[in-house]
């Protein structure tokens, strides 16, 4: 059971994530305010300049995130609370990493082939299904989507070399 024990350990505390996110959002706010300042935040010939509104939006983000940052820094009670445990993070990563690969593949080999691979991979790897059940299901889902979008609703989705080979483009 030692493995279970380690998966309960915290991978990151709420406080650490809270502080990081506050810094990131502050940076976002600063960028927004800076770029708006560049294009003008005052009164132009036809009313407020383009940067007028977003400039203040950026400032409010910076101000509010500072408040969140300071609060998180001071709050002692929550400092050791876990944001995500190792086991949880592992599960999330098991989904997220294949998803990133999938999304990249969509742009290269089209959505139908990559969806088939993605669903098949998940069933084999996480679901521990055999090939006999995985292949028909993964292919079936993609074929169903193809019929639904390309044939019935006339909405073209990204396609790749396989579709070109089959003359479905």
């Amino acid at each position: 059971m030692s493995e279970d024990h380690s998966s309960d350990r915290s991978a990151a505390s709420v406080r650490a994530v809270e502080l990081t996110v506050a810094v990131l959002f502050f940076a976002l706010g600063a960028i927004v305010a800076w770029d708006s300042y560049r294009i003008g935040t005052s009164w132009g010939d036809e009313g407020p300049q383009a940067g007028y509104f977003p400039f203040y939006i950026g400032l409010i983000i910076c101000f509010s995130t500072t408040l969140i940052f300071v609060r998180a820094l001071w709050a002692k009670a929550k400092s050791h609370e876990s944001f995500v445990s190792r086991g949880q993070l592992k599960m999330v990563m098991k989904m997220l990493v294949p998803s990133i690969v999938y999304v990249v593949l969509v742009g290269i080999i089209g959505i139908y082939v990559s969806s088939t691979l993605f669903i098949g991979f998940f069933m084999l790897w996480l679901g521990k299904y055999g090939w006999l059940r995985t292949v028909p299901l993964a292919v079936g889902v993609s074929v169903a989507f193809f019929l639904l979008f390309e044939v019935w609703f006339n909405v073209p989705l990204p396609k790749g070399p396989l579709e070109a080979l089959l003359g479905l483009d």
């Binding site: 708006s36 294009i39 009313g47 969509v106 969806s115 669903i119 679901g127 979008f149």
Partner: protein, 502 residues
């Protein structure tokens, strides 16, 4: 009674075999969406929106399209209750409060009763809200016809300040979330001056951020990641709904008429003022608990504890469409997505709809009545089907949902870069949800950002930069004052608490 006359014309539009078919399809899809983790009202409608593009181009097609989409929404509202009661997993945020008493009831073997009570009260809540829309919408639209830029800006201000005032937890986080939405909305070409804003030389940023992508990512992908964290086991109670149980429960329900009435009132209020269905359901549960004779037994499996949140959630979800169709200001993320649909189909949401698109508006309102009846029929008869969907293992359903989200994101602008963006929004949504940053304000700010900014700039041009224009007449002044009051409410509330406490 001009409203009734218009309503009957609306029924004439809505009751065509094709539209009735769409209602049932919409509700069925909606319930499935509501039952599945990672798909909900807002992103479900967003994903299916592109499918209506061709439909909307045929004559009368916009009405059919909105009927389909709004019925998906009703279905999703109904569907959330199923997972809450049978699996103790809220399918939708607004059905969290339904788990409190719904799941204990199911554990006692009274799942059928709980489901019937939930569906029936959802129906009643929606019905009250639709009646409100029927009679209030024309008056509100008529009133809004005289609105100028300052009035509109004060309405937007009220919408956003209401979010801050009603936020649970840290109001600052609501503000940050909202401002990020505004910042994202500002990216791209400034329509007034023609200048580029926040694009930093990236051509991909020229067209700005589409809120549909944000909705699909934040709510869809973020939700799947959150669900995964809690593990993959769905341990549910089996459910069958036989007519006996349904009838017996219906006999019992009139006892809770007062609870229903209160819940409907809370729901309608929270829906129109953009609080949304989720806080409405919690608030209604709290109110019912306080007023009920059996208040202390709440949480152990009381039918009343199912009635209260479900009625309110559905009333709020429905009445959120009132400001959307009359003012063009959506009260919830799903209403925002529907509004986005109207814009894409070439309709201008707002008071003019009632003048220029009578058939469309009244067809929509009539379809709300019919759609909810269709919804009630579908959920009462198809519970075993929906419960079976939940038994599909997560290792199959999770990648399929992700594929659906990717397709949805792609079809919005037929652009692959939107699919990448969806994933980025997904991770952001996951982290923000875990840190209690509310997502609804971000989405609404992203939708309304440009229009709020334009009305602000127009007001400033009218007044030559004098902020006093926001107090220039009773209406604008009243709205602005109310908005500011709501904005500072969290600060006031904590001050009051401190004075009382100390």
């Amino acid at each position: 009674m001009a409203e009734l006359e218009s309503l009957f014309q609306g029924f004439a539009v809505a009751i065509s075999p094709f539209n009735l078919l769409l209602m049932f399809i919409g509700v069925l899809l909606g319930v499935i969406i509501g039952v599945l983790p990672g798909l909900g009202g807002a992103n479900g409608v967003a994903i299916l929106l592109p499918l209506t593009f061709t439909m909307a181009q045929t004559p009368g097609g916009t009405t059919s399209a909105i009927i389909l989409l709004s019925c998906i929404y009703w279905g999703a509202l109904f569907g959330g209750a199923i997972t809450s009661i049978l699996f103790n997993i809220p399918g939708e945020p607004w059905s969290v409060a339904t788990t409190f008493d719904g799941y204990p009831l199911a554990q006692k073997g009274r799942a059928g009763e709980a489901l019937t009570a939930a569906f029936t009260s959802s129906f009643i809540g929606a019905f009250v809200a639709v009646m409100l829309i029927t009679f209030l919408a024309p008056a509100m639209a008529n009133f809004a016809l005289q609105f100028g830029p300052p009035e509109y800006f004060s309405v937007y201000l009220l919408t956003f300040c209401a979010f801050v005032g009603m936020s649970k937890g840290q109001a600052v986080k609501t503000i940050v979330s909202m401002m990020i939405g505004f910042a994202l909305a500002a990216v791209g070409l400034d329509t007034v001056t023609g200048q580029l804003r926040l694009t930093f030389g990236f051509t991909d940023l020229l067209k700005g951020f589409d809120f549909l992508i944000a909705v699909i990512g934040l709510f869809g992908i973020g939700e799947i990641l959150l669900t995964l964290e809690e593990g993959l086991h769905f341990k549910g109670t089996r459910a069958k709904l036989n007519p006996r149980v349904v009838l017996d429960t219906w006999k019992e329900l009139p006892r809770y008429w007062l609870t229903s009435l209160r819940a409907s009132a809370v729901g309608c209020f929270m829906g129109i003022v953009p609080g949304g269905a989720t806080p409405a359901s919690f608030m209604s549960y709290g109110v019912a608990k306080r007023f009920s004779k059996d208040g202390d037994k709440f949480g152990t499996g009381m039918v009343e504890g199912v009635v209260a949140p479900e009625t309110a959630a559905h009333a709020a979800g429905t009445s959120a469409l009132l400001p959307m169709i009359t003012l063009g200001v959506p009260g919830s993320p799903t209403a925002a997505v529907l509004l986005g649909g109207l814009l894409i189909w070439g309709l201008q949401p707002g008071p003019l709809l009632f003048v220029e698109q009578k058939d469309f508006v009244w067809g929509l309102i009539a379809s709300m009545y019919l759609g909810n009846i269709a919804g009630l029929i579908v959920v009462l008869t198809c519970v075993p089907l929906f419960a079976a969907i939940l038994r599909i293992p997560f290792s199959i359903i999770a990648p399929v949902i992700l594929v659906i989200c990717a397709i949805g994101a792609f079809t919005v602008h037929t652009s692959v870069s939107d699919v990448y963006l969806m994933l980025v929004f997904g991770v952001a949504g996951y982290v923000m949800r875990k840190l209690n940053y509310p997502l609804a304000p971000l989405v609404l700010a992203l939708v309304l950002g440009d229009r709020a900014e334009n009305s602000f700039r127009q007001s400033m041009i009218m007044s030559q930069g004098d902020m006093a224009i926001l107090f220039s007449n009773a209406l604008v002044g009243g709205l602005t004052t109310l908005a500011l009051f709501l904005l500072f409410w969290p600060v006031l509330a904590s001050l009051i608490k401190r004075i009382k406490g100390g």
